[in-house]
């Protein structure tokens, strides 16, 4: 049984280095979709998420879509328990496995195998147990002898394979993924999708942020469109994707999604 419930969650991002003028200027000038405000100490705060309420239950595959800076990654980090909300509450039952950034958490000087053991430890799996599962992980990645080489020699797609295989080696109850997944090739994406479908059938929750509408429509059944840190649309994935396309066409999404995907 897994469940995630967010009630009126807001996240304020303090930009401390904003004290320097140039960055402040830069921030205000860019097309950041968050809402800039100054707090009492003249620090810039970005309200990255505003009053987000949502509930996810077994079998939900949620897509997060929206322009760059709409709050997708922040919401993923709140769901992963990395960021504590500034306001509101989050309740989550279930073992969370998060894949937020490919390079992050990979020790690039260590070999693929060493990284399997290390990433496993961060997921709470002891080295002995992880060594037992290493064979299966290696097989899934299809990286072969590359696993004995330092990760710094890997291509982005190879890192995706490795990270994905490790993070999904034990069935996660709540799997949280950011958009980098698209670095994998078509064959791997198909394989990854089958694995995730297996999990979701066994009542896991998937939350995926992506700019690729094809990927989102194929992988997810529900969707949330984020705009300026707010939920602009929520519902079946096809409806939300349509809402996003209308938004892009009307030109109010300043950042073209194609460029970012």
């Amino acid at each position: 049984m897994s469940l995630v419930r967010l009630r009126d969650v807001s996240v304020d991002f303090p930009i401390y280095q904003g004290g320097s003028r140039s960055l402040k200027k830069a921030l205000l000038a860019t097309s950041t979709r968050g809402n800039l405000a100054s707090d009492g100490l003249d620090r810039i705060t970005v309200r990255a998420l505003r009053e987000i309420s949502l509930e996810l239950v077994n079998g939900d595959r949620l897509a997060l879509i929206g322009a760059n800076g709409a709050g997708k990654t922040t919401l993923l980090k709140v769901l992963a328990g990395v960021y504590e909300p500034s306001q509101g509450t989050i309740t989550a039952f279930g073992k969370v496995s998060s894949l937020l950034d490919i390079n992050v958490g990979l020790e690039i000087d260590a070999t693929g195998y060493e990284n399997i053991i290390m990433r496993g430890m961060f997921m709470g799996i002891r080295p002995r147990e992880m060594r037992r599962m290493a064979g299966g992980i290696a097989e899934f990645t299809e990286l072969g002898h590359y696993l004995d080489m330092p990760v710094r020699t890997y291509s982005a797609g190879m890192m995706v394979r490795l990270s994905f295989a490790i993070s999904t080696c034990v069935r996660p109850e709540i799997l949280i993924m950011d958009e980098w997944l698209s670095a994998g090739d078509a064959q791997f994406l198909g394989k990854a999708q089958r694995r995730i479908e297996g999990f979701v059938r066994e009542s896991s929750i998937l939350v995926l942020a992506s700019h690729s509408m094809e990927l989102v429509e194929e992988w997810c059944n529900r969707g949330i469109l984020l705009e300026h840190g707010r939920i602009a649309a929520m519902g079946p994935v096809s409806e939300v994707v349509a809402a996003y396309r209308r938004l892009v066409e009307s030109g109010s999404a300043a950042v073209a999604p194609a460029a970012a995907a």
């Binding site: 303090p14 401390y16 280095q17 990395v82 950034d101 958490g105 260590a110 430890m121 961060f122 080295p127």
Partner: protein, 260 residues
């Protein structure tokens, strides 16, 4: 408050995690060298031998009393100064992990302490050799003092890692400042030169907290008594430091993920 305590306890419970990570740190640091972490031991040994003979001539001190003092001083200095400087990167060095998985923050603190303890253990191999070649009037029961001394220093390392680690994550110019201060302190700390050489001015030098840390470890191994205030300074520093760091941790722990 309870959450901060919980973090510290939960981190302790994951000893298998930080112990393995600390070992991995050392393995990666010395990857590709035949000697592994013993490379560090060899470097320290060569430095002690070289400096021991030359500086004993410069200071006109007999090498059999100068070299053991220098050896122990340097080994313990490397330990405590690394605790201070590495404190600054407790959290920023593992930014990727903090941003990706929810873990007790204290795991990173314990990892740092254990890594430095392992490094000290490697360097410490030099000590019995030096003491065999240049025997000192050691009273063996006094070696027991090493236990509370090391324990207190590790506790100090813990609060430093929490406090400096958090401050450095928030203000990025802190680590270079700390590094420069530590470098300057090295020259005013009796590591390379004997305290007695200062005469009456020695009592000011004795107030240096880093000297207090080195002194409580070094004195029993040289068979001399500690400077009068070393234990007091160390204990006082532990109490004050822990209180400050804990208050800070309890207050700002939830912001740390945004700082790194």
């Amino acid at each position: 408050m309870a959450l901060a305590l919980g973090d510290l306890a939960e981190g302790l419970r994951r000893s298998w995690l930080w112990a393995a990570l600390a070992q991995q740190d050392l393995r990666l640091r010395y990857r590709g060298s035949v000697l592994g972490p013993f490379w560090q031991t060899l470097t320290t040994a060569v430095m002690i031998a070289g400096m021991g003979f030359i500086y004993s001539k410069l200071f006109r001190i007999r090498v059999d009393s100068y070299l053991p003092m220098l050896a122990l001083g340097l080994i313990f200095w490397m330990f405590v100064s690394a605790l201070v400087t590495e404190s600054c990167t407790t959290f920023t060095a593992v930014q990727g992990i903090i941003q990706q998985v929810k873990l007790p923050f204290s795991v990173h603190v314990y990892r740092l302490l254990y890594r430095n303890l392992l490094t000290l253990a490697h360097n410490f191999l030099i000590v019995p050799v030096v003491l065999l070649i240049f025997p000192q009037p050691i009273q063996f029961w006094r070696l027991l003092e090493l236990v509370p001394a090391l324990a207190l220093i590790l506790v100090n390392g813990a609060w430093l890692a929490i406090l400096l680690g958090m401050i450095s994550a928030r203000f990025r110019d802190v680590p270079p400042i700390v590094a420069s201060v530590v470098q300057v302190v090295f020259f005013v700390t009796p590591v390379m030169w004997p305290l007695a050489a200062l005469g009456a001015a020695a009592r000011w030098v004795e107030l240096n907290p880093l000297f207090a840390m080195i002194d409580v470890l070094r004195a029993p191994l040289l068979g001399v008594s500690q400077a009068p205030y070393s234990w007091t300074i160390l204990i006082g520093m532990t109490v004050l430091g822990c209180a400050t760091a804990f208050a800070f941790f309890a207050r700002f722990r939830h912001r740390l993920a945004f700082w790194v």
